[in-house]
C-alpha cells in the first residue's frame, strides 16, 4: 500500500476497531464524524494518538482536531504538510 490516503484509512480502521469496514468503504470526502463513519469523541482521542505515533504530529488545540478530521482528504493534506516522520 503506497497511497497515503489508503494507509491513513487502514490505520483508522485498525486504531478504531472498525471490523466491518474496509478501505474501499470509506469515501475520501465523506465526514469521519457524525454522519459518515459515525465516530465520536473517544475516537478523536485515538486519532490524535495515531497522528503523533505514526507521523510525529502533535495536536494540542481541540478546535484544530475538529478541522483536520473532517474527512480523509482533509486529513491527508494536513499530514502531508505537517508530518515529521
Amino acid at each position: 500500500m503506497d497511497n497515503l490516503q489508503d494507509i491513513l484509512k487502514q490505520q483508522i480502521i485498525d486504531a478504531l476497531n472498525l471490523e466491518e469496514i474496509e478501505i474501499g468503504d470509506i469515501d475520501n470526502d465523506a465526514p469521519l464524524f457524525g454522519e459518515g463513519l459515525g465516530l465520536d469523541s473517544i475516537d478523536a482521542l485515538e486519532l490524535i494518538v495515531l497522528l503523533e505515533r505514526n507521523y510525529g504530529i502533535k495536536i494540542k488545540d481541540p478546535a484544530l482536531g475538529k478541522e483536520i478530521f473532517k474527512s480523509v482528504n482533509v486529513l491527508y493534506d494536513y499530514v502531508s504538510k505537517n508530518r515529521t516522520k
Partner: protein
Amino acid sequence: MESKKVYIKAIAQISAQQPLSDDWFAKPIELQGDFVPACNPQFRNFLNPLAARRMTPILKRALVTAKVVLNGATVDAIVTGTGLGCATSSEKIINAMLEEGEAFSQPTHFMQSTHNTIGSLVAIDSKCHAYNSTYSQDGISAECALLDAFAQMRLGKISNALVGSHDELPESWLKMMKRGKIVDNPGQVPESEASVSMLLDSDKTGSKCEIKDILVAYNTSFDALLNSFISRNEISHLDALITGVNGWEKHDNAYNALFSALPEVPQLHYKHIFGESCSASALGIYASALCLKHGEVPVTLQHEGKTSLPVKNLLVANSSGSNKSLIFLKSCD
C-alpha cells in the same frame, strides 16, 4: 426479624462449553491442551457492532450474559467478581508503555483497563445506576460478589441483584503461569475463561434454586469451617458435594478435609467440563443451580458415589490458595 430468602432466578454462561446454552449437561465439549479459550456467541445478535467495536471480549461476554439474565429488567444492585479484571486491555497499555512510553497510551485501552470497567459497562447498558461494586479476590471473587448481594437481600436492603463473575486469559498471563508451573501439571484441567451472570431475586417464582448460606473465609482450611457451617444451617443430609477439584494434587489436597468429614456424600466435579480460571467457581454455582432445577446430576459431573434423585440440596466448595468458600444451595420444591 426473619431474613428474606434469596433465589437464583436466572443464570447464563459463556465458557469453554457452548455459549448461553445448557447443552453441556447432556453433551459436553471435551477440553484438550493447556488452554481452551471461551467459545463466544454471535455478539452481533446482542450488541450493536458500532457500540461494541471498542469492547474487548471480556466486556462483550459480560454484557451479553447480563442482558440474557436481565431480559430487560432493572435491578437494585450490580455486583461483579473478577480475578484478573480486563487483563487484555491492561496488557496492551503496559506493553505500549514499555515500547513507546506513556505519550502513546491509547485512550480506549486506558479506560477499559480497570477491574470495575465490567460492572460500569453493565450499569450503563442496563440503565441501573444504583449500588455497583466489584470484588477482585483471585479464585473466590465470584463468591465475594455473591455474598455482598446475598447479605443485602437477606437484610431486605435490596430485593434483587445482578451478580456476575468474569475472567479472560491473555497469552502473556498464560506464559507467566506456565513459568510459575501452576498450569499444565500432570492431571490438571486446562486453563480457560469464564463469564457468568446471575439474577438474584427474593421472589421464588420460576427460580433455579435457593441460596441458603454463603461463607467466605481467608487464610484458613475447610477443617476450621465445615462443622460450624453445617450446624448453623442445620444440615442433616447432603445430596452431593460439588468441589473445584482441578486434577492437580497440590491444589486439590485442600479438599481432603471435606472428603474425610463427609465420607458418605457423593462428590461432583465441574472443572474438567469448564476448565480452570479465576471465575471457575461461578461455573460451579451455575452447574449446581442447573442440577437443582432439573433435580438430576449429569453423569459427566459425577465423580464418586451415586447421587440420590431428585437432588434437593448441594454444598458447593471452592478453594483458592489459602482462601475458602462454602455455599449451601437448595431446590425450590
